[in-house]
Every structure is written in C-alpha cells, then in structure tokens.
C-alpha cells in the first residue's frame, strides 16, 4: 500500500509542481497516473522511491514513512521502469536484467534462470536476445527488457513511467495485452504513468487524472467515464467517452434473455465481445437484432440498438 498524505513539490518559490496531493494506492492494485505533459506525473511517481524528496507532506509505503527508510534499501524493494528506458549500454540483456539480483548477492545460476524466465514473460526469446547488447534491440524490445529488469528482484511495488511509449500503436496493443496477463500472474502494487487515455482505461484498476499539479479525479475507469468530475476530466476523456465506456462493458450486460423466437436466423455476436464491438456490428447489420452466442454456439441472448438506450 502506498499513501500520499498532503504531498507538495516545488523546485523554487513560485513554481508549484505538485500541490497538496493525497491519495492511496491499495495493495495489489494497478493505479494509473494520467494527465497532460508536464502536469507532474513523473514527479509524483519518483517521490515514491525517493528519486526526489517532497517539499512537504508524507509518503507511507506499507504504513512506514518513506522519509525514514534507507533510500538504497527502499529502492531495492521497488521495481522502477524509467520513462527513457535507461538500459545499461555496456551490459548484455542478461546482465541488465540481473543487475538488482546481483547487487543483492543472488547466485549466478539462480539469477540467470530468473532472467531467462522473465525475458520469456515479456516476450523476448532469451537464447536470441540474452547475449546481445541493448543497442542491438529496437526501442520496443528495449522497453520490454526494462520491464524485465524492474521485475527481476520480485519487488512488491512497481513504478512504471510510460513503459510502452517507445512502441508503435499495434505493438503497444499487444504489449498491453501481455501486461494484463503478466499482471494477474505477478500480483503487485503498480503505479503506472501514461498519457494515453485508452491505455489507462484498458489496464487500470483505478485512474488518477492530474492537471496542473492537482488530482482532478481518482476513480475506476468506468466511474470516470460515467461521471467525469469536471470539464477538464470530461474533455480529457474525449467526446467519445460513452463509446469508451461501452468498450469496458461486455455485451452480456445489455442483452435481453431470448423469448420464444430464439434461434431465428439473425446475425451473430460472441458473448465475449464488448458492448462497443456489438454496437459496431449492429450498425453494420442496419440496426437489426443480433443473436448473442456462447462459445459452444448456443444463443444466450438478443441485442438490438434499442437496448443501448437503457444503458445503466
């Protein structure tokens, strides 16, 4: 658990970067920090592992005031993925991933097998990439190594600063899917910075929208989209926020249980689809009703345009 209590940061009198921030990241939760460039996302993140010190306020980590902990020890227990990737250019990919275990004194063989399994986890074949130097990898591959490096000592807390920024949109989608899968495997408290609202909605348990050094709203993606707290949040979420909300909702949440005419020849949509994808298909089918099918091919419901009106 990470608690910010009345945290402010300014570099010199007059310029306030963060203004009286209070928020709590629960154990095992993935919290997204999002906001326009320069709003203080990285600053807030870097306060956690004491890369910088707050001007006032407290940060509690697992209930302990981080200012009283030894910074080097603290950082060894926190995985940190920096915005600029920052792989060590003179170390091979294996050596990069093994850095923290090696300073903690883990045996070589154990380190290597851990590094191999982590490289697998982030989708890099250790036999191919392990012995290369960072410069021989693409930006996206380097970012994956950065994530593996941060995971290597199995920290309870992960700080990730725009970890997918260096990849093209298609690869990014794939990385996000991989990350969601990893996230359920590793069960860590994660603070994740992004400026991509779709990414935030897709992977965050809760999203903290920042602007001008202050928290604008801190809630689940669904609540954020349903009820933006102010104009800034609403415009940040975009005009299509109702559609974004549908993308979070399974079609099964809107469908009607079929009456007697079930099985009638209609277009079909899979039960695993989002309400947004089903809407797109309905528009393609000129608004006619669709059967909602389960994986076994049974009709489990019906969906029509009119079902979207009573959107909860």
């Amino acid at each position: 658990m990470i608690e910010f209590i009345g945290v402010s940061k300014s570099y010199n009198a007059g310029t306030v970067i963060l203004n009286d921030i209070s928020l709590t990241v629960e154990r095992g939760e993935l919290v997204i920090l999002i906001g326009p460039s320069g709003c203080g996302k990285s600053t807030l993140l870097r306060l956690v592992n004491r890369m910088i010190a707050p001007s006032s306020g407290q940060i509690l980590i697992g209930g302990k005031d981080s200012a009283l902990l030894d910074p080097v020890e603290l950082r060894r227990g926190i995985g940190y993925v920096i915005q600029s990737i920052g792989l060590f250019p003179h170390m091979t990919i294996f050596e990069n991933v093994e850095v923290v275990p090696s300073i903690l004194g883990t045996q070589k063989a154990e380190r290597r097998s851990r590094a191999e399994s982590l490289l697998h986890t982030v989708g890099l074949e250790p036999g191919v990439y392990g012995s290369r130097y960072p410069r021989a990898l693409s930006g996206g591959q380097q970012q994956r190594v950065g994530i593996a490096r941060a995971l290597a000592a199995d920290p309870d807390v992960m700080l990730m600063d725009e970890p997918f920024s260096a990849v093209d949109p298609i690869t990014r989608g794939g990385l996000q899917d991989e990350f969601l899968r990893i996230k359920t495997e590793i069960n860590k408290t994660i603070v994740f910075v992004t400026h991509d609202i779709d990414e935030a909605i897709k992977i965050g348990d809760r999203v903290c929208v920042l602007n001008a050094g202050a928290v604008q709203q801190f809630d689940t993606p669904e609540a954020l989209l349903r009820a933006p707290a102010n104009d800034f949040v609403a415009s940040f979420l975009g005009e299509d926020r109702e559609l974004k909300r549908l993308s979070l909702m399974p079609v099964t949440a809107l469908m009607r249980i079929p009456p007697s005419n079930a099985g009638e020849a209609r277009g079909q949509v899979l039960a695993s689809s989002s309400a947004r994808d089903a809407l797109s298909q309905l528009m393609g089918a000129s608004g006619r009703e669709l059967n909602v099918m389960d994986v076994a091919g049974n009709v489990i419901g019906l969906i029509a345009m009119s079902d979207y009106g009573r959107n909860p």
Partner: protein, 244 residues
C-alpha cells in the same frame, strides 16, 4: 579475425625486441646506409640497453600518471571533490601548455640532475590526457542509465564500479593511450637532464652531425610508440565490446 588480431600483438612485440637485440644487424644496415660515417652505431651501450632505459623512464612516469590521474578524476566527479573540478582541469592543462623541455629544466633546481627530474617532468606532462579523458568519460555517462542505476538501488560505490567507470572507459582509455604515446616520445629529451634512454644517441648524434646514430635512436622510439598505440587500441576494443 579477432583471434588472429589478438595473436598478432605478442608476435609484433617479440619481433620488435628481437630487432632491438640484433646489434650486428643495426651495424650492418647503418654502415651500408651511411658509408661515410666513422661510427654509425652508438657503442657506449647496446641498443637493447637503451630501449630498456627508455622503457623504464617512460613506464615509471606513465604508471605515476595512472596512479595519480585516475583517482584524481574520480574524486573530482564525486560530490566531495566536485568543487575542485575546475581547479583540477585547469591546473592539469597548464601543465601541458609548457613545452616539455621547459618543464624538464624547471625541475632541475628542485630535483637536480638525473632520472627523478626526468620522471617527474614526464609525469606532469603526461597527466593531462589521462585526467581529461577520464573526466570527460565520467561526465558523459548517460543520464538515463545513471537514473536507472539509482532507481535499481545501487549504492554510490556500486554506481561508480558498475556503471560510471565501465561507461567512461572509451574516453578514459583513449586518454591513457595519448598519455602513453606522449610520454614514450617525450622521454627522448630526458638525456638533457642527464639520464639514459633512446634519446642519448639522438641528442648525441644531432650534436656531432651523426645522422646514423640519430636514426638508430629515432627508429626504435617510433616503433615503440606505434606498438603502444596498436596495443592500446586492441585493449580498448577488448574492454568495450558493447560499442561496436
């Protein structure tokens, strides 16, 4: 390819020393080249002895440069030494703006005639490239790598040993290479304060208009400088495989 390169280096050094040791060969060649010279070969010491003296003086000065220069550069880039960074950088470069002969003669009243004066002058003269190479290397360590190192929980010492020094190596070693070659070449004027080395036949030969003896001293100096350069470049490639 790299293996052949690694094997070439010791072969070249052994060949060079075999050539230095072949006194009769030099006598034959220089007599043939300078038939009018009465004594084309320096006779008070063998060429191998001169090379030995030369390497001893140049080696001692170079080792002193490393022992003093590298820790100095490291200290000047630590928080405790950083206030002295400009002072160190300036002092060291002033040491190099003096012509080496001037430095040599300035040493005379302090250390008198002899090897100590020569070694000290060469040390001062050779300090700049090593210190400035090391400083430049340490000051240009990529900021993102350092940030990642701090964020990974490296102590200051671990950062120095695992990140800063290895990443400074290209610049640092290039500085050391320049020092070694500079000192190797400048040791030639050490006989002016009464020491030995390959400068003895050169300076003597210049005084007596004996070009043969000048050549007998100058050729080995050039060979040693070239071999040093080649060895250092090989070492640099070896120690920084991540660059290519």
């Amino acid at each position: 390819m790299t293996l052949a390169r690694a094997a070439l280096l010791p072969v070249l050094w052994v060949a060079a020393f075999a050539l230095f040791a072949w006194q009769d060969g030099w006598r034959l060649a220089l007599t043939a080249l300078f038939p009018n010279s009465r004594n084309p070969v320096f006779e008070r010491a063998t060429l191998l002895e001169l090379v030995g003296q030369h390497l001893a003086i140049a080696g001692l000065a170079s080792v002193l440069v490393l022992i003093v220069g590298l820790p100095l550069a490291v200290w000047a880039t630590r928080p405790s030494g950083r206030p002295f960074l400009p002072l160190i950088a300036n002092t060291v470069s002033i040491g190099q703006t003096f012509p080496p002969t001037a430095v040599l003669f300035l040493m005379l009243p302090i250390l008198g005639f002899g090897a100590q004066a020569a070694v000290l002058a060469l040390f001062l003269y050779g300090l700049l490239p090593t210190v400035s190479g090391a400083l430049q290397g340490l000051e240009t360590v990529p900021a993102d790598a350092l940030e990642a190192g701090i964020g990974s929980g490296m102590s200051e010492r671990q950062r120095l040993l695992r990140l800063e020094l290895p990443l400074a190596l290209p610049s640092l070693l290039a500085g050391v290479r320049t020092t070694l070659i500079l000192v190797m070449a400048t040791t030639t004027i050490a006989p002016l304060v009464g020491t030995g080395g390959l400068g003895v036949p050169i300076i003597g030969g210049l005084g007596n208009d004996n070009l043969a003896q000048v050549l007998q001293g100058a050729l080995p100096v050039a060979m040693l400088a070239l071999l040093t350069d080649y060895s250092m470049r090989t070492l640099e490639r070896r120690l920084t495989p991540w660059r290519s």
